[in-house]
C-alpha cells in the first residue's frame, strides 16, 4: 500500500484492492506508521488532503470526434506534448504524493505511446486510468489500454441518446469498444453524461453497458465549458424535476443493477441535498468518500501545456504542474478561490446538511449561470430558496 502522511493521519492507497482510505493517527500507528513531527500538533477533525489525490492529465488535445459539448474544445489539429514532457509531469505528481492519474484529452488513444505512458505512470507509483471515446479502437490500441487500471468509455446511451449528447451517432463504436475491452480483460466502465434528454433513459443505458461488459458507470453532469459553454447549455441541462429525482434514480439503479458499480461526479452531489434519505446522512456520505467540489483540493487537472487547473472545466491557474508539491499549490489565488467558498459559504449552503460534502456544488455552473462563484444555482435547495424550484 502507498501511504501519504497528513497532519491528521494518512491517506492509504491499497494496491491489491482498488481502494483509497483515510485513516487517523491511531490507525496509522496500528500499522506501524509514524509521521514524526507532522503529528505533533493536535489532529483536528476532518480528513482534507494537503495535495491532490487525483490529477487529470490531458495527454493530448487532439481528437477527431467533434463532440458538440467537448469541454476541452479538442480538435484534429490539437497539441500532443512529447512523451518526455508528460513523464516530467508524472514526476511532479509522484513528488506531490498524488495517487491516481486520469489520462484524458482530446482522445488519449491517438497517442502511439499511450501504453508506454501508462507504464511510466506505474513506474512512478501512480495508478493510471483513462477515458476514451472508444472510436477506432483496434487491436493495437486495446493492447495499450490493458496497461491501465481502468478504462472508461464515453457512452451516453444507444443510438439517438448518444447522438443527442455528442452530435453524432457513435453508440455502435462505443458499444463495440466496451465489449472488446472487457473481452481483453480490461476493467471497463462507462462515462454517461446526464442531460435533459438522457436522464430518463439512464437505467437502460447502464443495463446495456453492463450487458456489454462494463462493471462501473459514472454519471456526469453536463457542464457549460468548452464547446458547451453557450446558451444551448440551458436547454440541455437537467430540469429541476430531474435534479430532484437523482436520489431516487440512484436507488433504482442500485436495485436494478446490483453488480454494476455506480458513481456520480462531483457536480451531481448538490442534487442529493433534497433527497430525504441521503441528505439525512452526511457523515455517511463523507465516510464513503463522496466528493463534491474538490477542485483545488483533492482534485486537480493539467492542460496540455502543463498549467494546473482546479478541475478540468476551470480556467488555468498561474502555476505549472511542477509546483504541485510546492508553495504554488498552496498559495495560488485561483486555487484558493475554489477552496475559500466551502470554507465559509453563504446561505443556503451554510445551513445545508450536505455542506461539508457538496462544498457549494459546481462552480463552473455558478460562474456561467450567475456570473460568479456562489451556491450552485441548479441545486434544488438553492432553487427553492430563490423561488425557482419549478422553473425549467
Amino acid at each position: 500500500m502507498i501511504v501519504r502522511y497528513e497532519p491528521w493521519g494518512a491517506w492509504v492507497k491499497l494496491e491489491r484492492e482498488a481502494a483509497l482510505v483515510a485513516i487517523d493517527r491511531d490507525g496509522a500507528r496500528a500499522l506501524g506508521l509514524d509521521a514524526g513531527a507532522l503529528w505533533d500538533a493536535p489532529a483536528g477533525a476532518g480528513a482534507p488532503p494537503s495535495r491532490p489525490l487525483e490529477v487529470h492529465v490531458a495527454v493530448t488535445s487532439r481528437c477527431a470526434a467533434g463532440c458538440e459539448g467537448c469541454y476541452l474544445d479538442a480538435r484534429p489539429d490539437g497539441i500532443e506534448p512529447p512523451r518526455a514532457e508528460i513523464e516530467r509531469r508524472f514526476d511532479a505528481l509522484a513528488k506531490a504524493g498524488v495517487f491516481t492519474v486520469a489520462f484524458g484529452g482530446g482522445e488519449p488513444t491517438l497517442r502511439d505511446d499511450l501504453g508506454a505512458l501508462a507504464d511510466a505512470a506505474l513506474a512512478r507509483g501512480l495508478t493510471p486510468v483513462v477515458t476514451t471515446s472508444g472510436l477506432g479502437l483496434g487491436d493495437r490500441k486495446i493492447a495499450q489500454l490493458t496497461r491501465f487500471a481502468q478504462v472508461n468509455v464515453s457512452y451516453d446511451g444507444p443510438g439517438e441518446a448518444y447522438a443527442n449528447v455528442r452530435g453524432f451517432d457513435g453508440a455502435a463504436q462505443a458499444e463495440a469498444a466496451i465489449a472488446r475491452l472487457a473481452a481483453a480483460g480490461v476493467t471497463v466502465g462507462v462515462n454517461v453524461v446526464l442531460t435533459r434528454a438522457t436522464f430518463d433513459h439512464v437505467e437502460a443505458t447502464l443495463a446495456r453497458a453492463f450487458e456489454l461488459g462494463a462493471r462501473e458507470a459514472q454519471l456526469l453532469r453536463y457542464k457549460p465549458a468548452g464547446r458547451a459553454k453557450n446558451l444551448d447549455y440551458l436547454a440541455r441541462r437537467l430540469s429541476p424535476a430531474q435534479g430532484r429525482g437523482l436520489g431516487a434514480l440512484l436507488r433504482s439503479l442500485s436495485r436494478a443493477l446490483p453488480d454494476l458499480r455506480v458513481r456520480i461526479d462531483c457536480a451531481l452531489v448538490p442534487f442529493l441535498s433534497v433527497d430525504p434519505d441521503v441528505a439525512s446522512r452526511p457523515d455517511e456520505l463523507a465516510r464513503w468518500g463522496v466528493f463534491g467540489c474538490e477542485a483545488g483540493s483533492a482534485l486537480a487537472a493539467t492542460r496540455v501545456d502543463g498549467r494546473v487547473l482546479p478541475c478540468s472545466f476551470a480556467d488555468a491557474t498561474a502555476i505549472d504542474v511542477s509546483e504541485l508539491s510546492g508553495a504554488g499549490w498552496l498559495e495560488d489565488a485561483a486555487l484558493e478561490a475554489f477552496r475559500a467558498f466551502p470554507a465559509s459559504p453563504p446561505e443556503p449552503c451554510a445551513s445545508c446538511t450536505l455542506r461539508g460534502v457538496c462544498r457549494g456544488g459546481c462552480k463552473i455552473v455558478s460562474r456561467f449561470v450567475d456570473g460568479r462563484v456562489g451556491p450552485d444555482p441548479e441545486c434544488p435547495r438553492v432553487l427553492d430558496v430563490r423561488g425557482g424550484g419549478d422553473a425549467s
Binding site: 459514472q218 442500485s254 498552496l330
Partner: protein, 140 residues
C-alpha cells in the same frame, strides 16, 4: 525455518488494533473519468451490516500489504518517519505469525469488486529509489 528477521511482536499486535473506526474515509474503486472526480454511491444503499463488513475487510487488507511512503511536498514536507516506523516497514513479516495476530476469525474477505474481470496482473517496474511492490490485478 527461515532466518529472516521477524517483525517486532509489538507490530503484529498493533496491526490487530486497526479497526474500522480508525477509517475516516473509504473510496472504493479507481474510477476513470478524466474531467470530474467520481464517487461510488451504491454503497450508500447498503445496510449497516454490509457496510460495516466492507470497512472491516478493508482494514484486513491494509494489515497485509507492504508499505511505501510517498509525497510530502516541498513546502510542508514532514520530518522523516521515525526509526521505529522504518524498522516496522522494512522488516519482513512471517505470514503465519502476522496473520494470526492481525486477522480476526470473523473478518470477511476483502471486497471483491462490484465488477467483472480484473485487470491483467502486472509487475510494477522499479520506482525511483524504492522497492518494487507487485501490483496484482486490480479489481475496482
Amino acid at each position: 525455518m527461515s532466518d529472516a528477521p521477524k517483525n517486532p511482536p509489538a507490530r503484529d499486535a498493533n496491526a490487530a488494533r486497526l479497526r474500522p473506526e480508525h477509517v475516516r474515509v473509504l473510496r472504493l474503486g479507481h474510477g476513470a473519468n478524466c474531467s470530474s472526480v467520481g464517487s461510488v454511491v451504491d454503497t450508500l444503499f447498503l445496510g449497516a451490516v454490509a457496510g460495516g463488513a466492507v470497512f472491516a475487510a478493508i482494514c484486513a487488507a491494509m494489515r497485509d500489504e507492504p508499505v511505501r511512503v510517498v509525497g510530502g511536498g516541498d513546502a510542508d514536507a514532514p520530518t522523516a518517519p521515525s526509526a521505529k516506523s522504518a524498522a516496522a516497514v522494512d522488516a519482513p513479516t512471517p505470514p503465519s505469525a502476522k496473520n494470526a495476530a492481525a486477522v480476526d476469525a470473523d473478518t470477511p474477505t476483502p471486497p471483491s469488486a462490484k465488477s467483472g474481470a480484473a485487470a491483467e496482473a502486472a509487475t510494477e517496474p522499479e520506482g525511483p529509489g524504492g522497492d518494487t511492490p507487485a501490483v496484482d490485478g486490480e479489481a475496482p
